[in-house]
């Protein structure tokens, strides 16, 4: 069955309709927040206080859980890799999929711990004897996370290199990503490039949603300018890096 192609006029109308609906929804939500401003503010401030209070413990818990999951994946993957006969492609694909899941677990854990630890650090301006103790746990979690997960990430990469001997790169080297990419062949690079573009598309969707969400929240709570600056810097960095690289490639 042939796919129907929308005419340019219809596409533009759909786009304008989407914009209009977004504006209406944003306006409605903003109005509701404005009407219930004090309630919303109290709820957000309560949630914020709770988040800061429990973030230190959460960071420690995420470190332990993330490390446990990643090391379980590594051990199973390593055992399977040692049993590979060198021929069964379906088998080794399963092993490599496990290693990818393990590396993703490590990355997600690190990001969560960094963010939770930073939340806990945000109370540093209210220093008391009790507050000092709350700072120690997230500090310890962050350092432990970095040491444990970076070490484990290295093990994953070394195992990947055992399975694929043509791969090069040391995770402790600042040029690791560049060296690794250079050791990838055309097919592997195509996957990396496609995945990167998909990540770019996801981020380009996430930035305006975050921007809109923060703007709506600012109706109820004084959030200052920092969130807008952070979103703007990240958004601009990504889009400028993309266009700079694209221009370079076109000029080649």
């Amino acid at each position: 069955m042939k796919k129907r192609k929308n005419s340019p006029r219809k596409t533009m109308l759909l786009f304008l309709l989407f914009l209009a609906c977004s504006m209406v929804v944003g306006g409605l939500v903003g109005s509701m927040i404005s009407i219930q401003q004090s309630t919303v503010r109290e709820v957000l401030e309560f949630l914020g206080r709770q988040a800061i209070h429990y973030s230190g413990g959460a960071a420690a818990a995420v470190t332990v859980a993330g490390f446990a999951v990643a090391i379980a994946i590594y051990r199973r993957g390593r055992k399977m890799a040692m049993q590979w006969d060198g021929e069964d492609e379906v088998y080794i694909e399963e092993v490599e999929e496990r290693l990818r899941m393990g590396l993703m677990t490590i990355s997600v854990t690190m990001i969560l711990v960094f963010c939770l630890s930073a939340m806990a650090f945000s109370q540093i301006s209210n220093l008391t004897e009790e507050t000092w103790q709350r700072i120690l746990w997230p500090l310890f979690s962050m350092m432990a996370t970095m040491v444990l997960l970076v070490t484990l990430e290295r093990k994953f990469v070394e195992l990947e290199k055992q399975i694929n001997p043509e791969k090069r790169g040391d995770t402790f080297d600042f040029r690791f990503k560049k060296t690794w990419l250079e050791s990838c062949d055309e097919q592997e690079r195509a996957i990396i490039y496609k995945s990167s573009y998909r990540a770019f598309q996801a981020a380009q969707t996430a930035y305006p949603i975050c921007w809109g969400g923060v703007m709506i929240l600012s109706i109820a709570v004084d959030i200052g300018v920092v969130p807008y600056v952070v979103i703007g810097v990240l958004w601009l960095t990504q889009i400028l890096a993309y266009y700079a690289e694209a221009s370079k490639k076109h000029r080649r």
């Binding site: 042939k2 060198g86 490599e96 694929n164 990838c184 062949d185 055309e186 097919q187 592997e188 195509a190």
Partner: protein, 74 residues
């Protein structure tokens, strides 16, 4: 547009596994596997390298067939 190949057959004639074939043409074992399964279409450069290693022409190893839906649209 699906690209078909007889790479596995030629590889068997050479008596090499996917890892060894990958080394001969400068790609990974995984790429050889994906090409054999039809899940990856090699670049012209890689196709020529493969053909040279197999002692055959590119057309003997790779061929494509028109997608019936694309033919209808034309």
């Amino acid at each position: 547009m699906p690209l078909y190949n007889r790479l596995k057959e030629f590889r068997a004639r050479l008596g090499v596994n996917q890892q060894e074939m990958g080394k001969l043409v400068g790609v990974s074992r995984q790429t050889i596997s994906l090409i054999e399964r039809g899940d990856y279409s090699p670049s012209i450069t890689l196709a020529l390298k493969i053909a040279r290693r197999c002692g055959a022409s590119v057309e003997e190893i790779f061929w494509y067939e028109e997608d019936p839906d694309e033919e209808e649209e034309e």
